[in-house]
Point group: C2
Chain length 199, copies 2
DNA sequence: TGTACATCAGTGAACGCGCGTTCACTGATGTAC
DNA sequence: TGTACATCAGTGAACGCGCGTTCACTGATGTAC
């Protein structure tokens, strides 16, 4: 009973903390994260402005939590999908599908990732670069293992950049389910990662 | 005399207008364009807050002017350098050098371009996409003309994305003159645009 | 078991401050005749 | 040439408003004994 009550209290705090992150993503997708105010986010999350401080010291700390927790788990999910598939072609398709699934399921988070990756906030760029470099490492090892010619690190980095660009383009598509973009991104990734392959 | 005086007055207005754009780029590089206020920009430009309205209706209009005038002319410059060089390898080097020259000469503008290309402001994204798609068209025609295999449009778009990613990476480099990045970007562009070439 | 105390998430009042915008005004320059 | 008027970039005062932050408080939950 004591443990249960304790869990409920901590869960409630965690719920509000998550709500603050969601509120920031929701508002940030519309006007940009940099333009958000603490009061604006608290209002959207349904709490008093002063309660914000029970969870984060300021907006920058909130943004860092979004990157480490929400963006990080999404990007790690992409990497896992990459390892699941069987051969090279399927692996790239699985990776792109994971990316497109994030766009479909959580467009606000996807916008945050592609925007802050190159935005004005140094801290956010550094954290996202660290997350994305892990994906590049996975790409490199997965695609080097099978073929003759090893994938150079710069090609893996370029592939990640192409994936993020595809993510940004998917966010701007009028019809989200349009299959054209999916194939274009897969083609670009294949060209970058397996330049020696010819049909 | 009448014409000369008229020119001087218009030149002075143009000078302040340009100063407003520069001030916005300077401040935006530090905190993000979306976070900028009209008063903050006017202060940085050395004019009274109310004078801002003599040039732009609001911050969005200022941003659109930055894209159309400053960013547009820089990007058109990249495309011109692309046409100048002789063969394929030199052309890519010239393009990347033009991009790196923009980073060196005007890092604030470069940051604005790469950030707003994928930022939260729909208007800015659309305008920048239009500018960059011209560069993609030039890439496609230049690299299709010479070889056997035509460059598909998606590869030209991907090359532009790689160039912008290289621009963002150059902005984050501690040592700006470091030649390593230049070669990496050229390699990625070559792989994307001439997949059939083998030494 | 009950009692007394500690912890801590959420709150409302209050603060000083900078914001975007309006308005009427100044003064230099351009135009008409 | 001079004179009278129009234009218009820049300005300072003023407005109401939302901001970030502080503070002391409430009340539910956890802990000690």
């Amino acid at each position: 009973m004591v443990f249960r009550a304790s869990l409920e209290k901590k869960e409630e705090k965690e719920r509000i903390r998550a709500e603050l992150m969601r509120a920031a993503l929701r508002l940030g997708a519309a006007h940009g994260f940099a333009s958000l105010g603490l009061r604006e986010v608290a209002r959207e999350a349904g709490i008093a402005p002063t309660s914000f401080y029970r969870h984060f010291a300021d907006m920058e700390e909130l943004g860092m939590a979004i990157i480490r927790e929400l963006a990080g788990s999404s990007l790690r999910g992409w990497g896992e999908r990459l390892g699941d598939a069987a051969d090279g072609g399927e692996r790239l398709a699985a990776l792109v599908d994971a990316m497109l699934a994030t766009v479909a399921r959580d467009a606000e988070l996807a916008r945050f990732i592609v925007a802050e990756r190159v935005g004005a906030f140094d801290t956010f760029r550094a954290l996202l670069r660290a997350e994305l470099s892990q994906l590049a490492s996975q790409l490199q090892s997965v695609f080097t293992g099978k073929g003759a010619e090893p994938v150079p690190p710069w090609a893996a980095d370029a592939a990640v950049a192409l994936l993020c660009d595809g993510c940004a383009r998917a966010l701007d598509e009028a019809k989200p389910g349009l299959p054209g973009l999916r194939l274009l991104v897969i083609s670009a990734l294949r060209r970058m990662l397996s330049p020696g392959e010819r049909p």
